[in-house]
Symmetry: C2
Subunit: 112 residues, 2 copies
DNA sequence: GTAACTTGTTACCTTTTGGTAACCATGAAA
DNA sequence: TTTCATGGTTACCAAAAGGTAACAAGTTAC
């Protein structure tokens, strides 16, 4: 229960180091983007990210949750149902993620 | 000589995957940010990033160069002098990096 | 002659990250 | 009573990333 955001950045005064610690890596921006306007189940996220393994997806979701970017709601049903959505902090990344996607699309992917 | 940006994203239609491939990792955003308004020598960059090893800094600079984000100018002097600066593509990241820094500062570092 | 300066490179080792495959729980359907 | 569905977990292994320390090279300062 001591996995608050503050812990991640304890000895850090660099805003990039702090931000990259939360949204860096190959998957986290994609996961957050997928959740921007939707609550989604584990299986839905996995289906939209075919190249991530279930193990790593589980790990990334746990980290995002403990960093306060997403929240996890588990229903006591069988078979299990778990829904992920963004917290306010996660939602506040929207402009940055939107700009990143636009930059990548324009500068790296468009075939002119 | 086939290290153009296109190679990085060959099989990729995801703008995040493409963007993260270029500026992801612990160091690259910081390096680009340091170069935003300045041409800097290797030693200057190293001095401002005490926690990166010289080996890794060299590697990161090479990758940034081959991805077209920075350019390297080597003077034929002894001792060597090498200056790094942003390309136009690198400069185009400025708004995103500025927003990231501001977000990290406000959401993660400010002690209210 | 020798040491220092600057920007690397190289060899070697440790840590981190990520993958695969097998397994679990439990209620419903066949 | 066997199977399926969902959202994981675990053990084990491979690959990637990163660190340290030693070395290079040629001119200048001592």
């Amino acid at each position: 229960m001591d996995n608050k955001v503050e812990n991640k950045v304890e000895n850090n005064s660099c805003p990039f180091t702090a931000t990259i610690a939360l949204i860096g890596g190959r998957w986290k921006t994609i996961i957050i983007f997928l959740l921007l306007d939707h609550t989604r189940r584990f299986g839905e996220i996995a289906a939209r990210m075919p190249s991530i393994s279930r193990k790593v997806l589980t790990e990334q979701l746990k980290e995002l949750e403990s960093d306060g970017l997403i929240s996890r709601k588990q229903y006591k049903e069988i078979p299990p149902r778990v829904e992920y959505s963004l917290t306010e902090l996660g939602q506040s990344l929207k402009p940055i993620l939107t700009d990143m996607a636009a930059w990548g699309q324009e500068k790296l992917l468009d075939t002119v």
